[in-house]
């Protein structure tokens, strides 16, 4: 009988040869990857959240090509990595996501020995509750959530009352589009903790948000600053840096952290579990925390840098910008968002669905 297919007989010699090749492949692969990592790096970041020429500078300095992909919010970052890392090295998760990702083994422990520029970081940032000892993340930028407003239209935005409990600007206001900031800031206005899991307090916040909805024109996902700049609204809950960016173009816009306190957050820089280029990732992180590079990044994106050495060489306008560095007594009332656990998040999500349904 003739056959069209070559049939390989599994005799002893073939078996040995085959398995030998298999083991050679298995053992050589990691050595090769470690000794000479290919000159590539994949960076997963927010849009407009790196210095104008930082990536080009890094390539010029090290010969490593950086490919930057963009995510719109921390949830997109988390969801993308949840089902397995599709090839990202360096990522930019926010503090509560860092906590969640550490619990889910989604981050690689950093080797501080390979990041000497850690010395440039303000020591006040080096031991946060969400990542004790900074094992997995380093502070990239920090900021607040507050109220951006048009000075010629809004006289006083120093309290959350104006957004939640005051009909003066009804229909001319926007808010962020996520449950965490809306529920958290409503809790702060009511005098409770930002991370409260007390069901009575949360229900009061829910009622407040539902009644405040009458005045809200739009839950803007991350473009409240554009609505403000385009004149669609006169007042919006937003991240400070987003407002600072439109403040630079429009003198009539200002930013304030309400006196009841608010959310202070920290975006970190970390390496995703399963990163294909961990060596390059460490080199990149070290590059970002360099004094001059840190200065250039902060100048471009107008957020507060935890890089002390960089901040010291920035100009006065940045150092004294109240939108970037709010007054210390108000900052003292602001809280980090904690990772509350999946059950508590479910409660908050049901509240947010109820607000959307109402």
């Amino acid at each position: 009988m003739k056959t069209h297919f070559p049939i390989s007989r599994m005799n002893r010699r073939n078996l040995l040869r085959g398995s030998g090749a298999l083991f050679a492949g298995l053992t050589l692969l990691p050595y090769k990857a470690m000794s000479e990592e290919e000159k590539k790096l994949s960076f997963y970041n927010y849009d407009t959240y790196i210095g104008e020429h930082t990536l080009a500078d890094f390539t010029a300095a090290t010969g490593i090509d950086v490919k930057m992909d963009l995510f719109a919010d921390g949830d997109e970052l988390f969801t993308k990595l949840k089902a397995g890392n599709p090839g990202y090295d360096v990522i930019v998760p926010t503090n509560d996501k860092v906590e969640r990702m550490i619990k889910a083994n989604m981050l690689v422990a950093l080797d501080h020995g390979k990041i000497p520029n850690v010395a440039n970081i303000d020591p006040a940032f080096m031991n946060p509750t969400f990542d004790p000892g900074r094992k997995y993340s380093l502070p990239y930028m920090w900021g607040t959530v507050g109220i951006g407003y048009r000075k010629s239209k809004v006289t006083d935005a120093s309290s959350w009352k104006v957004l939640f409990d005051d009909p003066t600007y009804a229909g001319r206001m926007a808010s962020l589009g996520d449950q965490e900031h809306n529920i958290g800031c409503a809790l702060k206005y009511l005098g409770y903790g930002y991370n409260s899991t007390n069901i009575d307090e949360l229900n009061k916040a829910k009622d407040l948000l539902i009644s405040a909805k009458k005045g809200i024109k739009k839950y803007a996902d991350d473009n409240g600053q554009d609505l403000l700049a385009q004149g669609e609204v006169d007042l919006t809950m937003e991240y400070n840096g987003d407002i600072a960016q439109v403040m630079a173009e429009d003198e009539d816009i200002s930013y304030v952290v309400p006196k009841e306190g608010s959310n202070v957050w920290e975006d970190t820089i970390a390496i995703a579990a399963g990163a294909p280029h961990p060596e390059n990732a460490h080199a990149f992180i070290n590059f970002v925390f360099d004094k001059e590079n840190g200065k250039h990044i902060a100048e471009t994106i107008q957020y507060a840098t935890p890089n002390k050495a960089a901040r010291e060489i920035m100009d006065e306008a940045y150092q004294n910008n109240p939108a970037i560095f709010p007054p210390a007594e108000i900052l003292a009332k602001c809280e980090y968002a904690s990772y509350l656990g999946e059950e508590a998040l479910k409660v908050r999500d049901e509240i947010w669905t109820a607000v959307q349904a109402a």
Binding site: A104, K217, T353, A357
Partner: protein, 289 residues
């Protein structure tokens, strides 16, 4: 044509790629979501896990979906989709008719204009709508010249429904066009010759004969409307969540894939009910003939 039993080899040659595609990229993911919808997050060391599941634990996700907030969003979704579908029919029917009665050489151009928006990404078209309808947008600028406005358009229910109509109108026009085009015009002439008025002719002859196109159009518009989240997100105001937004939130912010899967299957059931009703209606009308 021989049947597949007597010509098995060529049947399987032709059917294998499609079957493979269907199983790998459609049935397996869908089956996984179905299993997930009956699952819950695993509890490891007394803590609810972020990413691990206990599979097949019960129907708690479906029970959770029976809650006044979700139901009111479901009803809102049905209502808005119905309004948008009806508007598509009322706008699309005359357009399809007009195209059919155009001189032959204009028809391809008219159809091209209907299909043209598909060549542009949905997100970009929605953003374009925002620019046109915004407070300082093109419409309000023009209205400003004649001393009217500005009229608030973005951030209203009307804007969402307008957006749905804008996006799905071609799905209504194309099936209508293909049925109206095949309509034998001599029936209309006969009806008019026998003394029926224009209105009677439309109601008793044209409408029943084009009903298959109408039904297809209604389904092609209504079903995608049900699952839409992008338009309500971009054009809607504070009360604009449709069920698609709730599902999207479960797979994003809420990180609750089991609940999101359950909601998706609830929506799918709803869609199947619509299709069964259509099938029932068609069978009944066939029986009547």
């Amino acid at each position: 044509m021989e049947d597949w039993k007597s010509n098995g080899r060529s049947f399987w040659t032709l059917a294998t790629p499609g079957t493979f595609w269907l199983v790998v990229f459609f049935l397996i993911p869908l089956g996984y979501l179905l299993i997930l919808s009956f699952s819950s997050k695993a509890v490891i060391d007394g803590q609810v896990s972020v990413n691990d599941y206990d599979y097949i634990t019960g129907i708690e996700n479906y029970v959770r979906a029976i809650n006044p907030d979700i139901i009111s969003i479901f009803i809102r979704t049905l209502w808005w989709s119905a309004l948008a579908t009806l508007a598509c029919l009322l706008i699309g029917y005359p357009i399809a008719f007009a195209i059919c009665f155009m001189p032959e050489r204009w028809r391809p151009m008219a159809l091209l204009l209907i299909v043209l928006p598909f060549w542009i990404n949905l997100l970009i078209r929605t953003y374009a709508l925002k620019t046109v309808m915004g407070a300082r947008g093109i419409i309000n600028t023009v209205l400003g010249f004649v001393g009217i406005g500005p009229i608030e358009m973005i951030g209203t229910t009307g804007a969402v429904i307008f957006g749905l109509v804008y996006v799905f109108l071609p799905f209504m026009i194309l099936p209508l066009y293909s049925t109206i085009e095949r309509l034998d015009k001599s029936y209309l002439e006969a009806s008019l010759d026998l003394g029926a008025s224009q209105f009677q002719t439309f109601r008793k002859v044209t409408l029943p004969l084009t009903m298959p196109g109408i039904i297809t159009g209604l389904i092609l518009v209504f079903i995608p409307c049900l699952g839409m989240f992008l338009i309500s997100d971009e054009l809607g105001g504070p009360t604009s969540w449709m069920i698609g937004n709730v599902i999207q939130a479960q797979f994003g912010t809420s990180n609750d894939w089991p609940f999101g899967s359950a909601l998706s299957f609830a929506l799918m059931m709803l869609t199947i009910i619509v299709l069964v009703m259509q099938w029932y209606y068609q069978n009944r009308s066939k029986g009547a003939q």
